[in-house]
Every structure is written in structure tokens, then in C-alpha cells.
């Protein structure tokens, strides 16, 4: 997918030298021509992010296991309290799924080295994210149980809270990454950070789907 680059972007691409693979020079392997940054698995940040995502996934998985263990030991579920209202949760699910759109565009713009587009889509994402956070707050209000009312309440609040914590930290991450894109001069490493940030956002959205299912539909079955 090619997008017509702006003038500054074009000049940037031309003025940054292209890379060449390692070259044998006698006893030495010369790497001066290698790129100074890379996207995807070529970037160390990708691996760090993958590690963090795995850690958090384990946290979610184990918390879901805790939820179902407690459920299996109760005759009635929720053992005290009511199921959360479906409305805001489902709205949030829809918003979350939609939020990948500005993310995908920001990611692609980063790989195209199109700084202007990156800035645009990151701002769009930050604004969108605010809506997500707002709806998340409303979801909390409509959980219909206190965390100290019963094991059910405790499990719902912590599962919900774990994901919300990740949501907030990732959102703040995105705000910072977006802000840095406005701080001249821009080096290639920041574009990689944008791409990695959007990758991490996928994790937030995809992990929400099973958690949404457990929180909102768990008590209904």
C-alpha cells in the first residue's frame, strides 16, 4: 500500500542512506552498511513487547482460571450480586475493535516513513482512546456488585481491573509515543516505537475479547 509522500517525508527518505548487508573485508565482517533500525522481529522492542505481552497474558489466563474455579465451587453464580449490565460492555467491545483502525494506519505510516501521517493517526488514536477509557469507567459503574460482596464480586473486579490497568498503561504509552513524534528531529527508531506500540495495542484489544466473554457472559450461563 503506497501513499503519496509529503515533501518533507520524501526528502527524509532520500537523505537517509540505504542499507547494505554485511561485507567480508579480510578477517573482518564489516557491518557499517547495515540499517540502524528495523521493524517487526528485527527490532529488539518487538521482543521486549512480546515478552511483556506473554507475561500479561499469563496473568489474564490464570485470573480466568481462578474465576472458573470459584464458579465451579458455587451452587449459584453470581453467589452474591448480579450479572453486569450488557450495554456498556458491548459498546466497549465494539469501540475496542474499532480502535485497531487508527492503529493499523499509524503502523503502516510508520513503516512508510511518513511522519505526517503517523502524527495524524496517532492523534486520532489518542482521541479514540479517550472514548474507550470513558466507556470503561461507565462499565465499572455498571458491574452491579462490589469487590467485597462475595468471591464472585472479587473475581469480576480483579479480572476487570487487570485488563483496565493494562489498558491505561498502554494508552499512556501511546500518548507518550505520539507526543515524541512531534519533537524534532525525528529518528527512525521513533517510527519503530510507533509500530511496536500499535502491535502492543493489538494485544490489549485481542485480550479483551475473552475477558469480556467471561465477565459479561460467565454469569449468564
Amino acid at each position: 500500500m503506497t501513499v503519496a509522500p509529503g515533501r518533507r517525508a520524501r526528502r527524509r527518505r532520500e537523505s537517509t542512506p540505504a542499507s547494505i548487508p554485511a561485507v567480508r573485508r579480510g578477517d573482518a565482517l564489516d557491518v557499517a552498511g547495515l540499517p540502524s533500525y528495523g521493524f517487526g522481529t528485527r527490532s529488539l522492542m518487538w521482543w521486549g513487547t512480546a515478552g511483556m505481552s506473554t507475561i500479561e497474558t499469563m496473568g489474564f489466563v490464570l485470573m480466568i482460571v481462578v474465576y472458573f474455579d470459584l464458579k465451579s465451587r458455587s451452587l449459584v453464580w453470581p453467589n452474591e450480586g448480579h450479572a453486569p449490565d450488557l450495554f456498556w460492555g458491548t459498546v466497549n467491545l465494539a469501540l475496542a475493535l474499532l480502535s485497531v483502525v487508527p492503529n493499523i494506519f499509524a503502523d503502516q505510516a510508520a513503516k512508510d516513513h511518513d511522519v505526517r501521517k503517523v502524527r495524524l493517526w496517532m492523534i486520532a488514536f489518542v482521541v479514540f482512546g479517550l472514548a474507550l477509557l470513558g466507556v470503561r469507567y461507565l462499565e465499572f459503574e455498571h458491574l452491579n456488585v462490589r469487590w467485597d460482596a462475595s468471591a464472585y464480586g472479587s473475581a469480576v473486579w480483579v479480572l476487570f481491573g487487570l485488563h483496565t490497568f493494562n489498558l491505561i498503561t498502554n494508552y499512556l504509552d501511546s500518548v507518550v509515543v505520539a507526543a515524541v513524534m512531534f519533537k524534532e528531529p525525528i529518528d527512525g527508531k521513533r517510527l519503530v516505537d510507533v509500530a511496536e506500540n500499535s502491535g502492543y495495542w493489538w494485544f490489549i484489544v485481542l485480550s479483551w475479547i475473552p475477558i469480556y466473554a467471561v465477565i459479561y457472559w460467565g454469569p449468564r450461563f
Partner: protein, 667 residues
């Protein structure tokens, strides 16, 4: 040429002008590139680029993996000695029936602090610390991948350990066992701040473990020397890789458990309260799902020390190198399928328990493979019986014995007798001291020259070894018999009519001998630090890359990153293969990222500069934790300082951006 040439770019405003200025400098040949040997201009440039600020500020800001790794090792060792002193007090109390040296409250704190410190503050951190120091050297690179994160991890670890021990000093020491079972550790029966501090320690030490694991994982997979394919990777690096992966999957379990317990204590949740639908046993599942792999976080690096020492002192490559690597991987996998063997006495279904017996016996097989490969290596080698190998021999005796009692307790019916008795105390100390501490001392003797540039004394080393070996067996072998004689764990005293007195006294004498041996080690270290004979690059004539650089290594590890063409790089000379990398900048902190499988050079990487923010971020996180123990709002407002610290940590400085642009080539 010094890095001063880059500071001239500081005043230029626009990107374009910056580029032109940078190109002019490069064109004048002022940017020094590496590739030359020591004593060259490149070496001086590297020294300048990689040096830390002097004094306290440099100490706090460093990102040098060697300084950070040493910190981990030294701090963990100090706590090893402290926890050992607690054990000595316990042994004095138990030496005679109805003894009155220590009352029940203090005794309960003693064994809890001993276990918690040994497992969370000594064993796992010291292994990770050794890896942080050794792995970049072993794979032939300049630093770990995320050095600031590892620096932060150290401070989290230190503050966690200090907070636990401060609590102990103030009579608020954790006292519900190192495993903190609920309901004893819960809000109703775990009165006061004791278990709150314990839960915080878990959060901090496990956060540390996870951060270091992600860092090690990344450096191992992505920053190896060109030519170091996975098959050519040293066994210790494989062990660090497997351990790091295991940590990523297992540590979240105990962090979750500790946080759920803390929520029960602080916010009135009911996870472990049966009266409101909670389940006491979930704690055990979550704890042991972590806890069993945890002993392998400690054991696998120990095995890898053995695999590093034996080839050097048998003067041949490891027999069955691939089999040993596969065994490490298999052990890592299997270790996740054993956790219920800590819960055989609970009311879980019997059929399920049988499965865990089968798994517990199965995990002995990869260990057996390694043992036979080691013996084969020794059998077909030529033996240089120096102190590192001596400790490895001690490891054989003690670990094999411990592993066999492990097979015994892996069987459900037998475990139902000896679970929670002194038989298990004997077993766990045989496998942990045998499988980890003996190899660790061997590793200390082996790598002390590399860490410090001096040799430890062989004579003192032998004395230490024999005292430790004899003292250990005298202390712990009788405990098998005590367990069979019905003595449970975690009791502060026992009556004379039980007949447990004699063996307990013997065990206490053994403990005293162990203490003496550790003292000898400390004397050896202190003496060698100041007066030990100087070591050259490769005093043991070993084959791996850490011995290809001076002892101790300069901050940048290698003037020119090595290129490897075999599994034993220092023992082989491949004609017609490149020997080193050139073309990386010597005036900035630059390293090389390679591909995962075959380590083909891929991308150049600029390491982050030293920074004070990891230290500050760690402080803000600790404050947040303790604040959230006290109030609900603390949990929210306390997040603001860490948020600021992490943003400042990430925020790119002008110098970093300019350096990036100077060297920039797009992919």
C-alpha cells in the same frame, strides 16, 4: 578522536542541517569505527563512549551489565549469609528437646525469613545475576538488550529485600512460612503488617525476575555474535534462555496469588474466604504452579554451571552437547507439569494426583541424560582437578542423592507419609544446595578471575569444599531419618519423649561446619580481592567467548565483536572464516542485532545511555506498593510518580537522537 566531535552538533536546529553537518564529519573520517585491536584509537574511543560517570551518580546511573550483574551477585550473597545465620539460630534451638533459645513467635519468623530470603532473594536473583554478567560475554556482545530495565530491576530487588528485613528487624517479620498458605496468611489469622510486607516482597522480587528474564531472552535470541547459530550457543546460554522463558510463564502466577491475597487483606475481597465462596486451595495451585518451576529456575543454571566447568577441566568439549541442551529444554517444559506434587495431602482427586506422580518421575530422565553425558565427558577426557571441578564432584554426590529422594517423594503414597516432615527438608536441601549452591561455588571459583582479574586461592578452596561437603551431609542426612521417625516441619521445639534429640544434635553440628566453610569462602574472596595473583584473559584455557577478553573485561566487553565458526571458539581456528566484526561506531554505544536461528548480522543497535530514571522509577514503584497497602486511593494516586518516572526514562534526549541520525541507515 573523542566523542566531543558529536557535541558540536548540539546547536544545530533543523533536521536537514543536522544531516549535512553529520555527513561532513563522517566524510572527514573523524567517526572512529571499531575493528582494530586493543591499544588502538578505536579502543580509546570505546572507553570514552562506554565509561560511567565517576562516584555515586555513575553508580546509580550505570547500565553496564557487568556492574549490574555483580551487584545482583554480591547483594544476593549477603542475604545468603544472613539467611544462613537465621538457619544457624534455628539449628541451635532444635539441637536439644524443649529448648528455650527462641520462642515460637520468633522461630516462626526465622524459618519464614530463611525460606523466603533463600528462595526469593538469594537463589533466583544470584542465578539471574550470574547470567546478566556472563551471557553478553558468552554470546559475544557489548551489553544486554534492555540495560536500563535490568538496572531498574536491581533497585526493585534491593528495596524489596530491604523492606522484608526491615520488617523483621521491627518484629514485623513474615511468619506464615515462605509459601504463605492462606488462611494462616490471610486477613483473619495473619495479623498485623507481616504478610503485607511479604506480599510486597513477592511483587518486587518477581517483577525483577520478569524484567531480567525479558532482557536475557532478547539478548540471547537477537544479539549473538555473527556465526553463533543456536547449535553453537554455549550450554549456559541455553540454560538462561530456557530459564527466562520459564520465568515469563511461571512468575505471573505467584504475583497474581500474592496480589489476590493482598486484596483479601487490604480491600476485603473474598478469594480465599470459603464463607463467601472463596477457595483456600487456589492459593496453593497458583503458588505451586510458580513454585515448582521456580526450583528449576535455580536448578537449571546450576546444571549449566556444571556443563561449563566440566569441559574446561576435562579438556574436551561436552559429550552429547545436543542431548544436554535438549535435556535442559525438556526439563523446562516438564517442570510445569509437576506442581500438584506439593499438594498430594489435599483433597484433590486421586486420579489427578497419579498423573503428577508420573510426571514427577519423568522429569528425572532428562537429568539422568545430563548426568551420564557428564560422566562420559570425564571418562573420555583428561582431568584437571582444580577447585571448580571439586565442587562439581560434590554436586554429583549430593544432587544425585537428592534427586533420588525426589523420586521417592514423587510417589503419592510415600509422599503422604513424608510430606511436611524433615524428610522433605533433607530432600530439598540436597537438591538445592547440591544442585545449585555447590555448582555456584564452583562457578565462583571458575569465573572469579574474569569478574575481578584475580585468582581465588586453591588451598582455601579445597578446605572450604571439604568442610562444606562433610558439614552438609552431617547436617542434612540425619533429617531423612527424622522425617521417617515422624518429625514434622516448622516446629520450634519437640519433647524428649519423641526420641528426635540425638539426630537433631548431629544436624546442628553439621550446620556449624557449613558455617565455617562459608566463612572460609569470605576470607578467600576478601584476601584474593586485595592480594590474589593476577589472572590473564584465559587462566583455565577454556573455550568460550568470555575468555577472549581481558580479566576483568573493559566496559565495552570486546574491542571488536567476535565472529564464531564453531561451538568451541577459543579451541578451534577456522581458516578462511572472518574472526571479528568491523564497522560499528566506536564513539557511540553501538552493538549488533543478529537473526534468531543463525546469527546473521541484521541491524545495528544504539544502546541507551546511562540514566538516573531507572533508579528513580524503582523508588516510585516501591512507594506505590506500600502506599496501596494502606489506602485504596494510594493504589491510584501512587501511580502518578511512577508514570512520570517511566515517561522521563523513555523520553529521547537530543544527544541520543543526534547519534541515531548520525549513524542512521534505513532498512
Amino acid at each position: 578522536m573523542s566523542a566531543g566531535s558529536l557535541s558540536g552538533l548540539g546547536s544545530v536546529a533543523s533536521t536537514q542541517a543536522l544531516r549535512e553537518r553529520a555527513r561532513a564529519i563522517v566524510g572527514r573520517g573523524e567517526t572512529m569505527l571499531d575493528g582494530a585491536g586493543f591499544g588502538s584509537q578505536a579502543e580509546r574511543a570505546l572507553q570514552q563512549a562506554w565509561r560511567d560517570e565517576p562516584g555515586l551518580l555513575g553508580f546509580l546511573k550505570t547500565t553496564d551489565h557487568k556492574r549490574i550483574g555483580r551487584r545482583f551477585v554480591c547483594t544476593a550473597f549477603v542475604f545468603f549469609v544472613a539467611a544462613g545465620i537465621l538457619a544457624a539460630v534455628m539449628r541451635m534451638q532444635l539441637a536439644f528437646p524443649d529448648n528455650h533459645i527462641v520462642g515460637p513467635d520468633l522461630y516462626n519468623q526465622l524459618f519464614t525469613m530463611h525460606g523466603t530470603t533463600m528462595m526469593f532473594i538469594f537463589a533466583v536473583p544470584i542465578m539471574q545475576g550470574m547470567a546478566v554478567y556472563l551471557v553478553p560475554l558468552l554470546v559475544g556482545t557489548r551489553n544486554t538488550a534492555f540495560p536500563r530495565m535490568t538496572a531498574c530491576a536491581y533497585w526493585l530487588f534491593l528495596f524489596g529485600a530491604l523492606s522484608l528485613w526491615t520488617g523483621f528487624a521491627l518484629n514485623a517479620g513474615a511468619d506464615a512460612g515462605w509459601f504463605a498458605y492462606v488462611p494462616l496468611a490471610g486477613p483473619q489469622y495473619g495479623v498485623g503488617k507481616r504478610e503485607d510486607i511479604w506480599n510486597n516482597l513477592i511483587n518486587l522480587s518477581e517483577a525483577m525476575g520478569l524484567m531480567v528474564a525479558v532482557d536475557l531472552l532478547t539478548v540471547i535470541l537477537k544479539m549473538r555474535a555473527p556465526g553463533m547459530s543456536l547449535r553453537r550457543m554455549p550450554i549456559f546460554v541455553w540454560a538462561s534462555l530456557v530459564t527466562s522463558l520459564m520465568i515469563i510463564f511461571a512468575m505471573p502466577s505467584v504475583m497474581l496469588a500474592a496480589n489476590l491475597a493482598q486484596f483479601d487483606r487490604t480491600f476485603g475481597t473474598h478469594f480465599f474466604n470459603p464463607a463467601e465462596g472463596g477457595d483456600v486451595l487456589i492459593w496453593q495451585h497458583l503458588f505451586w504452579f510458580f513454585g515448582h518451576p521456580e526450583v528449576y529456575f535455580i536448578f537449571l543454571p546450576g546444571l549449566a554451571f556444571v556443563s561449563s566447568i566440566i569441559p574446561t577441566f576435562a579438556r574436551r568439549p561436552m559429550f552429547g552437547h545436543d542431548a544436554v541442551v535438549l535435556s535442559l529444554i525438556a526439563t523446562g517444559f516438564l517442570s510445569f507439569g509437576l506442581w500438584v506434587h506439593h499438594m498430594f495431602a489435599t483433597n484433590l482427586p486421586e486420579v489427578g494426583k497419579g498423573f503428577f506422580t508420573a510426571m514427577s518421575l519423568t522429569i528425572a530422565i532428562p537429568t539422568a541424560v545430563q548426568i551420564f553425558c557428564w560422566i562420559a565427558t570425564l571418562w573420555t577426557g583428561r582431568i584437571n582437578l582444580r577447585t571448580p571441578l571439586l565442587f562439581v564432584l560434590g554436586f554429583f554426590f549430593i544432587l544425585v542423592l537428592g534427586g533420588l529422594t525426589g523420586i521417592m517423594v514423587g510417589s503419592v503414597p510415600f509422599d503422604l507419609q513424608v510430606h511436611d516432615s524433615y524428610f522433605v527438608v533433607a530432600h530439598l536441601h540436597y537438591v538445592l544446595l547440591g544442585g545449585a549452591v555447590f555448582p555456584l561455588f564452583g562457578a565462583f571459583f571458575y569465573w572469579f578471575p574474569k569478574f575481578t582479574g584475580r585468582m581465588l586461592d586453591e588451598h582455601l578452596g579445597r578446605w572450604q569444599f571439604w568442610l562444606f561437603f562433610v558439614g552438609f551431609n552431617v547436617a542434612f542426612f540425619p533429617m531423612h531419618l527424622l522425617g521417617l521417625a515422624g518429625m514434622p516441619r516448622r516446629i520450634y521445639t519437640y519433647g524428649a519423649e519423641t526420641g528426635w534429640g540425638t539426630l537433631n544434635l548431629v544436624a546442628t553440628i553439621g550446620a556449624a561446619v557449613i558455617a565455617l566453610s562459608v566463612l572460609l569462602f569470605i576470607v578467600n574472596v576478601v584476601h584474593a580481592w586485595f592480594k590474589g595473583p593476577r589472572a590473564d584473559d584465559n587462566p583455565w584455557n577454556a573455550s568460550s567467548l568470555e575468555w577472549a577478553t581481558p580479566s576483568p573485561p573493559p566496559a565495552f566487553n570486546f574491542v571488536a565483536l567476535p565472529v564464531v565458526a564453531s561451538r568451541e571458539p577459543l579451541w578451534t581456528r577456522e581458516e578462511d572464516e572472518p574472526t571479528h566484526v568491523s564497522g560499528l561506531s566506536a564513539q557511540t554505544r553501538e552493538g549488533l542485532v543478529t537473526t534468531v536461528l543463525d546469527a546473521v548480522p541484521d541491524v545495528r543497535y544504539s544502546y541507551p545511555d546511562p540514566s538516573i530514571w531507572p533508579f528513580i522509577a524503582a523508588i516510585t514503584v516501591v512507594v506505590w506498593l506500600f502506599w496501596s497497602n494502606m489506602t485504596e486511593t494510594g493504589m491510584f494516586y501512587g501511580l502518578i510518580p511512577p508514570a512520570i518516572a517511566f515517561v522521563a526514562w523513555y523520553w529521547p534526549t537530543r544527544k541520543e537522537t543526534v547519534e541515531q541520525l548520525l549513524l542512521e541507515r534505513k532498512p
